[in-house]
Amino acid sequence: MAALLPPLRVCRGILKELRTMQGPKYKLSPAYSYIMDQFRKNKASSPPTASQLTVTGEMYCRAQQEAHHDSHTYLCLLASSRTHLALHKLYHGKGDRSREEVAGLVGLRLPTQPG
């Protein structure tokens, strides 16, 4: 099974999604500030060494993994919503045909009302 993407790629992915959703002013949104905050706080500078695996070190790593998983989940949410909507517009977004078109399918025309 493929492992989770590295945090940097997840962060970039989320920011790309936000930019697609909100346009150039995405940096002003509360979501942007929160995401950047979280990624800065949980940044892993390097894999934990043996000395770091004390009680506090391990707790920090677990919170990091949780945040990583959550960020991955959020990226999945944003990306798949967008793709789903695009597919919907592409394949299922046409709505019903008009009555004229329906009549035209079988070679008939609608009667015209006088006046």
Binding site: E66, T73, C76, H84, L87
Partner: protein, 277 residues
Amino acid sequence: MFRSIVRLQSQFGNILSPNKVCPRSPHFRFAFKYSSAITERKRFYQDVSISQGEGGLYEINLDRKKLKTPGGKLFTVPNEVLAIAVATEWDAQRDTLKFYTMHLTTLCNTALDNPTQRNKEQMINAALKFLETDTVCYRVDEPHGLVELQKNEYYVTIGSSSSILGPEIPEATKDTFRQHLNSYNFWSLTGLEFVITQLKSVVLSMGIVDRHLSVEQAVLLSRLEEEYQIQHWGNVEWAHDYDMYELRARTAAGALFVHLSSESSNVKRKLLQDREG
């Protein structure tokens, strides 16, 4: 009779009516709002923002008005992250509001309004009942490729069955599950129930919630047989991909909802430590 229809019409289009019309029985209003066929409305606001209200609960503001649930209650969420995510959902809407894409909002509405009057006990029982028909427990005997795939991917052996009747789940397993599920609060259970319904599997849902699986992995496992058939017979984008992305979006929303609803206390503690240190 005509006047009552007119009043219903005015309630129909108004999520944010500041003064409610003549009170009808709450149950009737719930049923009406939740069964209304309205799926799209024009976007009527410019800005979306969040604010903190009474009791530390967060509210969503669309321009100057506060968002309300379909049941008429004020829309409040227990933590800021969830509020930001919901606000982002509302902000993402363009000309029309597509409620069927706003999964987090829908989940919050369900948790707040509880239109079907569920309590924790009922939800836990429903989840345990679902365990008996869990997707992961059904193994096939043929075709051979699918058997191999199932053996490799479905490494959980909680009980398995090849027949149409479900597996026998021992009572001890059920009790362990029940105890575990009891530790989740009502909001988290709402989200969990949603994920279980989407994935058709309690095991996979717990896998996501415990962070063993990513959403993509869980969705793949849930659709294992379908993926096998797709590899064999080919992919139909407007059906297979459409379903898969919808499933991913809903599952991700549900999983995020569960995590955010069960984590709020931890987040607060961390912030306090940061300030002290």
